[in-house]
């Protein structure tokens, strides 16, 4: 009986392992229960007016933007944990429907996690920029650099050894900034040493803590972006 259980769990384990090492670099899907639950909320709030919107993945969603920015602007958080640029492209039009004054974008690390081609990510980036400009031409677009990771404390194997992808994406993003005359927000200048996220700002090597968000908003204020 015990042997049988061990065999079963062995098979289960190898299937599981197999699934984990599966190549996801062609996987452009974005819908899951988490995405849908957030998107349902954001749809309900589609007509709410904000001055400033923070748009992105978990790093955006977890940010205490409203509290840190203060009462000068009405701030909306439109982050969805785990979202990739395909998921973002699908929802950006509604996010800028009420024509905010400013939008801060941070996107791409989950594309890196899957190993999606940087060409795809940059193409999505460009389309997202175009959609914003089309829907809401007066909205000022702030493109924030993808944050580097800290491999030493990094808890997720699927992100290990991918610094080069982040560098490539950030170069591409800077290029888009020039091409579309946007504002580049080089947050990593303050939160990272070169291409290493500062240890004191992260617990898992990718997400950032309260001190980092404080520094981040301080950066935005000092540069008069807010």
């Amino acid at each position: 009986m015990k042997k049988f259980a061990m065999i079963v769990s062995g098979i289960w384990f190898s299937i599981h392992l197999c699934a984990q090492t599966n190549d996801k670099s062609q996987d452009s899907t974005y819908s899951n229960w988490y995405y849908l639950s957030r998107e349902k909320l954001y749809q309900e709030l589609k007509y709410v007016k904000y001055d400033v919107i923070f748009f992105g993945n978990s790093i955006t969603e977890r940010g205490p933007w409203q509290e840190l920015v203060g009462r000068k602007y009405k701030v909306g958080n439109r982050g969805i944990g785990g979202d990739n640029t395909f998921g973002m492209k699908a929802r950006i039009a509604d996010v800028v429907g009420t024509k905010p004054k400013k939008i801060f974008l941070m996107m791409g690390i989950n594309d890196v996690g899957r190993g999606l081609s940087t060409d795809w990510t940059l193409k999505n980036y460009e389309e997202i920029i175009r959609i914003i400009q089309e829907q809401s031409p007066k909205t000022k677009i702030y493109i924030q650099s993808i944050l580097p990771m800290n491999e030493e404390v990094l808890k997720y194997d699927y992100l290990k050894g991918k610094e080069d992808m982040i560098r490539t994406l950030n170069r591409g993003i800077e290029e888009l900034v020039r091409q579309y005359h946007l504002t580049y927000v080089n947050v990593k200048e303050w939160l990272a040493d070169g291409y290493i996220l500062k240890k004191e700002y992260t617990l898992d090597g990718i997400h950032v803590n309260t001190d980092a968000y404080i520094r981040w908003v301080q950066y935005l204020k000092e540069h008069k972006y807010l």
Binding site: S37, R38, K40, L41, Q43, E44, L45, V48, K49, Y50, P64, Q66, E67, L68, G70, R71, K74, V75, G76, N77, T210, D211, I214
Partner: protein, 227 residues
């Protein structure tokens, strides 16, 4: 000082347990890593004068109050897993904002642990007294503890019953009538079904709310003019 009281209660709870079999042990320990981290985070946030503060457990924490109400100075002070003793111990971080309104919704995790309803209601009174001391003008809204949906409830929450929740809510309603600046907000009319259970379509697990359901909740608070 507060910590001292709570420690005393815990020790007393433990002692009384060994003195007499029939007395119950009360697990009032509220400190765990999530509580400590979240409280440290709150303490680093700037003061927001005249804030409207939502205080509670995961049900408050999960609410995207700021996104739903960008026009108001809102603070989310929910800590997942928190109990009434935990709220009592962190009121300083709330009163420092000199809030205009405080919405409190706490108690369901107390029930989960088997803390008697009488002790929870006593804690509501202690929380209110404590807030009053520093903020006599602040209006305190006691949100009704939401009903559960027993058919969807996870095993770990099976100790939570709607009859106990009713006792808590009736307790809050009773003393809020006598108190100035304390108002009971009954959320059952919008969140409960005709049998008094949490509406099935807005809860994933019989106790928490879908995050889109908070829009409806806020609309209701506006409708009854407490927001």
């Amino acid at each position: 000082m507060k910590k001292g009281i709570i420690l005393f209660l815990m020790v007393w709870g433990g002692l009384s347990c060994s003195w007499a079999q029939q007395s119950i042990h009360i697990d009032s320990n509220y400190i765990f890593s999530g509580y400590t981290e979240q409280l440290a985070h709150f303490k680093k946030m700037p003061v927001l004068p005249k804030a409207i503060v939502f205080v509670g457990n995961s049900l408050t924490d999960a609410g995207r109050w700021n996104d739903i109400l960008p026009e108001l100075p809102v603070l989310n002070r929910g800590i997942s897993g928190d109990i009434s003793y935990g709220v009592l111990a962190r009121l300083d971080e709330i009163t420092r904002h000199n809030p205009k309104k405080i919405f409190l919704m706490i108690g369901v995790n107390d029930l989960k642990r088997g803390i008697p309803t009488k002790n929870i209601i006593d804690n509501y009174i202690r929380i209110i007294d404590e807030i009053r001391k520093s903020l006599p003008k602040t209006t305190i809204y006691l949100n009704s503890v939401l009903p559960v949906n027993p058919s969807k409830l996870l095993e770990s929450f099976k100790a939570v019953t709607n009859s106990d929740i009713r006792i808590l809510n009736e307790g809050m309603q009773r003393f809020s009538q006598k108190e100035k600046n304390v108002k009971f907000v009954n959320l059952h009319p919008i969140l409960a079904d005709k049998d008094g259970n949490l509406r099935s379509e807005i809860t994933p697990d019989g106790i928490h709310l879908e995050i889109s359901a908070y829009v409806e909740l806020v609309d209701y608070l506006k409708k009854i003019k407490v927001l």
